[in-house]
């Protein structure tokens, strides 16, 4: 064998080894201490891994990438801002969980018809066992509401109830109607009937009573809460329920085809005015309803849920 042949063989073998082994070795070194999370649309498997285990108080470095379309990554019930996860690119974030427990992470971009199912779990363990937390059951459970039962309101509105108009009659309104407990446990239609039957308000016309109902709703919300509710609705609900709450979002046809039911139409007074905040809370927290609506309980904080509920009535009140 000539020297040139030997040299060329060494070059070829060395070159092939470098080309094939170097990237794999570099990746293995770079991946130490890092968890790579791949996002795919739910039909293709969702998040991989779908469960991440971590010690409380220990930072975890996540390298997020998408294998298909644009996704978003957020931790449920957390203030950590959502980040975008782009196809073929890497987004790095570092998270630290102080308390042991189970946290949900989820996609924040409308990536596909089953976008809502793109969720994973972060199990945070600590050296000490998780102390049992005393929690109050959600209001809809405390009220023992059947959130699957129909709740139509047979109401006729002459015009959109206006909280600003209602305020001018507020002096007549007994204070008990303004408490959060009353507001959350009664549907607007029930509140209307209660007010209509109240001797203190007998002089008011029907439309005035509805303005007072709107006033009660507005009194139990804040501008910040409504803005947060609007943000949550746009990000999480509008895909099915529609930007204007009409039940005609971009994925509504898929929902109808799969479940045989259309998403709730919040612009219909019979639906929205017949539902109490507690009932809406239950539907949001649990999901289901035969439409494939996901459970939002693991993702929204208690306040976020009430903000979202408050916003839903903007489709009926102003």
């Amino acid at each position: 064998m000539k020297r040139t042949e030997l040299l060329s063989r060494i070059l070829v073998i060395t070159g092939i080894l470098i080309v094939l082994a170097a990237p794999i070795a570099a990746r293995a070194i770079g991946a130490q201490g890092v968890i790579e999370v791949h996002g795919r649309i739910a039909e293709s498997g969702g998040w991989t891994p779908s469960t991440i285990r971590v010690q409380a108080g220990m930072p975890i470095h996540l390298r997020l990438t998408s294998d298909d379309v644009m996704h978003g990554f957020a931790i449920g019930q957390s203030d950590t801002p959502a980040v975008d996860v782009l196809p073929g690119q890497v987004t790095e974030i570092t998270l630290t969980f102080d308390k042991p427990g189970t946290y949900a992470y989820y996609c924040t971009r409308w990536c596909g018809p089953n976008h809502w199912r793109m969720r994973g779990i972060i199990e945070v363990t600590g050296e000490e066992p998780v102390s049992p937390q005393v929690t109050t059951p959600p209001l809809y459970l405390m009220l023992n509401l059947d959130i699957d039962a129909p709740h139509p309101a047979s109401v006729t509105l002459d015009r959109i109830p206006d909280a600003q108009y209602g305020e001018q009659f507020s002096a007549l309104l007994p204070a008990a109607y303004l408490t959060p407990d009353y507001y959350r446990s009664h549907s607007p239609a029930q509140i209307y009937l209660d007010l209509r039957a109240d001797p203190a308000l007998v002089s008011l016309a029907g439309s005035d009573i509805w303005d007072l109902v709107a006033y009660i709703w507005l009194s139990n919300t804040t501008p910040e809460g409504l803005a947060e509710g609007q943000r949550l609705f746009a990000q999480n609900c509008a895909a099915c329920h529609g930007e204007t709450g009409g039940g005609n979002g971009v994925f509504s046809a898929n929902i109808t085809a799969l479940a045989g039911k259309t998403p709730a139409n919040f612009s219909d007074p019979a639906i929205t005015l017949g539902a109490s905040p507690a009932l809406l809370q239950g539907k949001i927290l649990r999901g289901g309803m035969g439409t494939g609506m996901p459970s939002w309980g693991p993702l929204f904080t208690d306040q976020q849920t009430w903000d979202l509920v408050g916003f839903l009535y903007t489709f009926q009140f102003k």
Partner: protein, 446 residues
């Protein structure tokens, strides 16, 4: 007007010495293996994967916009696919060949000594191209399959049978190489006739016999010369030359065969279908092409095959038949058909140049980002990973494409005229056919 490049000592020594070519081949082989690796282990997102970007954007751009039009089979001279097989076949990378063949060294069957199989392999790749061109793993499988088939064929058969008879790229590169302004030819054919050992074909102590199974002394067309430069090294009489020449010099040579004529239809038709599917606004057609295995895809495949193997040849046959009838020629219709099919070579080449401009200029920005992050793992090797996508030269694209198509039509018309005068048949119907398909292609691109 021919000009011999090998008369310059520097060029000649660069081509005769094995090392310059071998260094390029080593780099190409490394890039090829890297592309396969990135397809298998890199991101499945096509526009962020080295395999997709460097094979279907960078390599294709170089091949169809530069290499084929200017150097003909120049790409084949540095193609890495046959290398491992060839090294195994020879038992060496640089050493002289062994006296006895190491493997089976069988002859390729006579019945298959044509490019029908290449027509088939190209058509198969074309039918699945929507997936092959976008899914890195599929690209990797196709590239790896080509590598292993080439190795297998090198062990079973003599020379480069894969390149000559199977490679889906080799078929059209050979067809269009006829139009290239570069050729390898002998300087004096008499010397070849007098040469007893014919080392250019049989090999010698200084080099291998023609891997492409071509006797250089008989070369009249570029179609099957792979420009591997072995004959330049083995010729004891320094009788091999690399020449520059006018474009389309081979197109006035004996006409192409029926298998080559159908290659011309495949290329012409595939360019039109691709322009419609990949660049057009027809979502249903695009979806059908991408939904491999679905009923819609079978419909797309049937339409694809019917257009290329039915409609186009039938219309062309009608044009050729009309020409024959008008001039009352006595030459057989088959001969006139294949002779005029030669005229479709420049048209097809320019169709592909125009079509490729669109997606190459649109996607070229990904070359820089995938160079820095070849696997989509978040690397930034050269600081270009975050370069945003943007199409280049958008204002020039349409004028360039229009000029390319019109240039191709004029080139084809001139070639048809020459063919017409040789076969004594009016070229007018063929020119009309070419004009109509050019207008159709123009409509698809605009």
């Amino acid at each position: 007007m021919r000009s011999e490049l090998t008369r310059f000592p520097l060029i000649k020594s660069l081509l005769k010495n094995r090392w310059p070519q071998m260094v390029v081949l080593f780099v190409m082989l490394a890039g090829f293996l890297f592309a396969i690796l990135s397809g298998f282990i890199g991101t499945p997102v096509g526009n962020r994967n080295f395999g997709i970007i460097f094979v279907w954007i960078a390599w294709w751009a170089v091949l169809i916009l530069v290499a084929v039009p200017l150097f003909g089979r120049g790409w084949c001279a540095v193609c890495p696919i046959p290398l491992p097989g060839e090294w195994l076949q020879r038992g060496a990378i640089m050493d002289p060949p062994m006296k006895k063949p190491r493997w089976f060294n069988l002859r390729w069957p006579n019945r298959l000594r044509n490019i029908w199989l290449q027509n088939l392999t190209f058509t198969l790749v074309a039918l699945f191209s929507s997936v092959i061109l976008t899914a890195p793993k599929v690209t990797a499988v196709v590239l790896a399959a080509m590598l292993f088939i080439a190795i297998g064929m090198s062990i079973i058969f003599e020379r480069r049978t894969f390149c000559r008879y199977i490679c889906p790229v080799g078929g059209f590169v050979g067809l269009y190489a006829q139009a290239a302004p570069l050729e390898l030819r002998v300087k004096d054919r008499q010397i070849c006739l007098a040469c007893k050992d014919k080392p250019c074909y049989n090999g010698s102590a200084v080099g291998y016999g023609c891997p492409w199974d071509v006797f250089p002394g008989g070369l009249t067309k570029n179609t099957y010369c792979g420009l591997c430069m072995e004959c330049l090294r083995t010729c004891p009489y320094d009788n091999i030359a690399i020449n520059t020449r006018p474009f389309s010099a081979d197109l006035s040579k004996p006409p192409i065969r029926m298998d080559e004529a159908f290659k011309a239809f495949i290329m012409l038709g595939a360019a039109m279908i691709y322009a419609g599917v990949f660049l057009g606004p027809w979502g249903t057609m695009k979806l059908a092409a991408y939904s491999v295995g679905s009923l819609a895809w079978f419909g797309y495949a049937a339409a694809f095959l019917a257009f290329i193997f039915g409609l186009l040849p039938a219309l062309f046959l009608g044009a050729v038949g009309t020409g024959k009838a008008l001039t009352k020629a006595t030459t057989t219709l088959k001969k006139i058909f294949t002779a005029f099919a030669t005229a479709l070579v420049p048209l097809g080449l320019m169709f592909w140049v125009a079509f490729s401009m669109s997606f190459v200029l649109t996607n070229a920005a990904y070359i820089l980002s995938s160079l820095s992050d070849p696997f989509g793992w978040g690397w930034n090797l050269f600081g270009t990973a975050a370069i945003p996508w943007q199409p280049y030269l958008t204002t020039l694209l349409l004028p360039l494409q229009t000029l390319t198509l019109i240039g191709g039509l004029l080139w084809t018309a001139r070639t048809a005229q020459k063919v017409g005068s040789e076969v004594k048949v009016t070229p007018a119907p063929v020119i009309l056919f070419s004009t109509l398909v050019t207008i159709f292609m123009l409509g698809l691109l605009l």
